[in-house]
């Protein structure tokens, strides 16, 4: 094992970043990177990833990465969730020791110097989380409105991303234990989960995100390379479209995995783990 036990992720003032946010910090004195996990529609910061938090610390390639499990309210519109994630990522990229790592550490463990920086930040996102993560990266700009320089250190690893759209009735089935209930249930679901409108196939949010990503890749190719995401889809996924998004890497297909399973490695089913490890620099 290369990581400390799971702890609550805290800010510089010691308050939690969020009710669900958790960390597993690398034992290395100067880890080279951070992996930020962003769950999907009606997911949970830690539980969405099932055995990832327990199995990743056994992997030598992940030994030098802090593991950060980020939670958000998936009922909110994706751009709102993205704004909060952008704030967190900026703190993590600019001042990780002061803003995240040292306050989250158990008392008595060696702290990292205030000048500590990550060489790499890998964002692993599932489903709606992929849209939230992409929007957060688009919102990360410096004082002049240019993309934040730290974006060049970011990579995106996306599991079943909803960036090319999702079927609404299938999202409702996801909420309702597999049953695609319509009528009043759909109306209640749309009212409660505003994010449904963001990920519906052909939504204005997705169209604008696609255009902004394309423009950024043209105007700031180097910094915007983080938008060339690594993508994995489960072959049994009936919820999201597997269409390629702008200039993403070729899709990795994961056999016998649905929308739910695609981001959950087990000791016997390693594909999600191998996919994520393959994205690490």
């Amino acid at each position: 094992m290369h990581h400390n036990l799971l702890t609550t992720m805290r800010r510089a003032d010691a308050s939690p970043w969020g009710a669900e946010h958790k960390t597993r910090l690398a034992m290395a004195a100067k880890p080279k990177g951070a992996m930020v996990f962003v769950h999907g529609f009606r997911g949970h910061a830690v539980e969405t990833w099932h055995e990832f938090p327990g199995l990743l610390p056994l992997e030598a390639k992940a030994a030098s990465y802090d593991l950060l499990f980020y939670g958000y309210d998936t009922r909110q519109q994706a751009p709102f969730s993205a704004a909060k994630l952008a704030t967190f990522l900026t703190a993590l990229a600019q001042s990780p020791a002061v803003e995240v790592v040292n306050p989250s550490m158990a008392f008595g463990l060696p702290e990292r110097p205030a000048t500590f920086q990550y060489e790499h930040i890998v964002i692993a996102a599932h489903s709606l989380g992929a849209v939230v993560a992409r929007l957060a990266l688009l919102q990360a700009v410096d004082a002049n409105g240019d993309p934040a320089p730290w974006l060049s250190r970011v990579r995106l690893a996306l599991f079943a991303p909803a960036h090319s759209g999702a079927t609404v009735v299938a999202l409702i089935a996801l909420l309702m234990s597999g049953a695609p209930l319509k009528g009043q249930v759909e109306a209640v679901a749309r009212r409660l989960y505003k994010s449904i409108n963001d990920v519906e196939t052909g939504s204005p949010t997705l169209k604008e995100m696609r255009k902004a990503t394309r423009d950024l890749l043209r105007s700031h190719a180097q910094v915007a390379s983080c938008h060339r995401a690594w993508v994995a889809h489960g072959e049994d996924d009936y919820i999201v479209s597997a269409r390629q998004f702008v200039k993403d890497q070729p899709t990795t297909a994961i056999d016998q995995a649905d929308h739910f399973d695609v981001c959950k490695p087990t000791a016997k089913k390693r594909e999600p783990m191998d996919f994520l490890l393959g994205v690490l620099p």
Partner: protein, 377 residues
Amino acid sequence: MNQSEERYAQIRHAYFRDHAGAGQALERLDAAQSGKRGKLARLLRHHDDEPISDREVRERDGFDQLLAFLGMVEIACVATYLPASPPRDHTRMAERVLNDEAVRRYYEDYYPILLPQAHRRRMEGSLLNTDLQGFRRGPQLFDQFFTLSLPLETSGTIETFLRLLDEGARHDHELDRLVTLDDTIAVLRDPKRFLRHASARAPDRSSGELSTLSESVQGFLGFVAFAPRLLALLEDAADTPLLQSSMWHYHGYWWGQMGQRMGADVRRGLEAIDGWEARLTEVERRQFKSSLSAARGKRREQAAALAFLSSGRFSYGLAESLLDRGPWGWVRDLVIQAGPAAARRPRKRRKDTLPKIDLPSTPEVRLPSIQIDPETA
């Protein structure tokens, strides 16, 4: 700090910084030990002697957290994540807690749980790790168990659901009446109400708190999702019966309750969700055949895991390790005569009676490798 001290500091951090309850209980114990002994004994009384008020429930939760922390340290020692003798600071604190007369009566007599008892034996130097010497996966299994269990510790919704099952009824501040498990099942039967309660968040409420019913619905979902994952981890620890059993005992009270009377209620909840399919048209059922089938399969897996975990099969390993050493024949008798459920914390039974427990029939799921015959154990 050496490696053991760092590891211990992390476990302690999880219970004393991320939850205030354990620290407050320790302060209360300090105060009691410096003079107000009667107050602590009254707080930690058996509920049959006098009903427990809401304020006392919160204060007792702190002691439950403190005992959970000591139980987690015991598992860490069994798994060789920590050395067989934990750091000196811990030993002093653990002895102070576990040897306190009122606390000891609480975890030994009123609500007997085995992990603190095992830890007290360890502090006395009479409990050794036997089945993990040379077993290299122990620390890894502990790490996975801690990672799996911690979110459950911090989930107030699961706690509410389990307490509702345990106590029968709790007050709901939104409905301003007592709600029972039947209310939870009624919500599970109605997709619209289910969606509202399953999606509710505390900050949205004027009170800043979720209603008991919403917490119970969300806790139900969390609890049934947790069961197959814990079972998989216990099966993975089959080579080490003591560690396997110790991990089970950490959550053993609830599995015990499941075995006694809750299994059927949880099954009713899962069946209520099955009923949603009847609302679909034939076309919808055909179109979503695979998702419906996958969801149904997950519910079957959850039900099987719950049945298995509550069967008591995992309780023997730890009980045996205690029985083989010292004057612990009463525990042996309790476990062997009354069935494994006797190792759980009874809430409703009188002090002077043993529970009569029937083991549920074995469900059609994989058998774990631990096979101890109660007749010969």
